[in-house]
């Protein structure tokens, strides 16, 4: 699964930056076409949910998705399969 931010909804509040235990969201620096500075993703394949959602058949962690007041965070299927090298720091 792949983590995506829907830039047509995100208002750039950076609550996701605050809550992600892996620091996957980073404060952005550039204005998008809506005049909003959306966060950028730093190696999103490290996210628990990206790695294990399909295996467990349910949402794991998901706090970013839950706290995002603008319903802008979701996971999409990767097709065709895109292999990743995943390094997880503990």
């Amino acid at each position: 699964m792949k983590l995506v931010i829907d830039e047509s909804r995100c208002k750039g509040c950076n609550l996701c930056v605050l809550v992600c235990p892996y620091g996957i969201f980073r404060e952005g620096t550039e204005l998008n076409s809506r005049g909003i500075v959306a966060p950028v993703l730093d190696r999103p394949e490290r996210c628990t949910n990206c790695r294990l959602q399909a295996l467990y058949g349910r949402m794991l962690c998901g706090v970013c998705h839950m706290i995002c007041p603008d319903q802008a965070i979701s996971w999409v299927e990767e097709k065709p399969f895109e292999p990743h090298k995943v390094e997880v720091e503990f």
Binding site: D6, K11, G12, L15, L18, M66, I67, P69, D70, Q71
Partner: protein, 262 residues
């Protein structure tokens, strides 16, 4: 997004300001509704007036966006006429405790079978930041420019005293706990009241040295103490930290309820 089957996606993005916690509380409520397995045509959302009360407009069920302070009166009517429906009320601190204060205590006393979620941002957000009955002493608002001088209501304790069957309090930072509390409230017959303290960066934070959304969230997080911890402090005779508020389940009981389908 959470609960895509329940959001009116064509209405998004919603009108809430950047970093407003109301959107988070809608997420938690809809996650709880999904957990309950309710059907859309058996669920009604009711609200009064305010930023918080716009929530049902983003949800794909029948809803009533009523008059200021009267959400609980309309919701009681819905439940009495159609006890087979699940009734969920979204309200604000002004809507519930100022103009709607009387409806609040009497709905709790009657213990009408519904779930009431109050987005308590300690201010009248929609109309430009006037003080509400939950504005903490000392806080600056447009009607308290020298700092609020009145004591504030503790909404959850008020609901306990007035007779609601389930009462809990969390914040927009505690997303998992809030979702669990809403679901527990939905399972409890009788009135369930969940106070969700939330951030209004535009009309509260800006005037109270909490300019950023993260500062507001940090304030909520650091001032929340678990009910068990409060009880321990009281038992040990230790002082409760200044400005702290309890979070967790305050009551779950079985008083006679109104509108429960037999």
């Amino acid at each position: 997004m959470i609960a895509p089957d329940w959001f009116r996606e064509d209405r998004l993005p919603h009108i809430y300001c950047t970093g407003c916690g109301n959107g988070t509380i809608i997420n938690c409520t809809l996650a709880a509704v999904e957990e309950m397995g309710w059907k859309r045509d058996e669920t009604v959302f009711v609200s009064g007036i305010g930023c918080s009360s716009r929530a049902p407009g983003y949800i794909l069920t029948d809803s009533l966006h009523t008059t200021h302070g009267r959400a609980l009166a309309f919701a009681t009517g819905v439940k009495m006429a159609r006890p087979d429906l699940h009734v969920v009320v979204f309200t604000g601190d002004g809507d519930l405790a100022a103009i709607g204060g009387n409806h609040f205590i009497h709905a709790c006393r009657r213990n009408v079978d519904m779930t009431v979620i109050c987005m308590n941002n300690h201010i009248y957000g929609m109309t430009g930041g006037q003080g509400s009955p939950t504005t903490p002493p000392g806080a600056i608002s447009s009607t308290t420019p020298y700092g609020a001088s009145e004591p504030a209501f503790d909404l959850a304790e008020l609901a306990v005293a007035a007779g609601a069957n389930y009462v809990a309090r969390w914040t927009s930072y505690h997303v998992k706990e809030l979702t669990k509390a809403v679901a527990a409230g939905m399972q409890t017959p009788g009135l369930s009241f969940i106070e969700a303290r939330t951030q209004c960066p535009t009309n509260y934070g800006r005037h109270n040295k909490l300019r950023s959304v993260s500062a507001m969230i940090e304030h909520l997080r650091s001032h929340a103490i678990l009910v068990a911890k409060r009880d321990r402090l009281v038992a040990e005779g230790k002082p409760i930290p200044e400005g702290a508020f309890t979070v967790g389940e305050l009551v779950r009981r079985n008083r006679p309820a109104m509108g429960v389908q037999r």
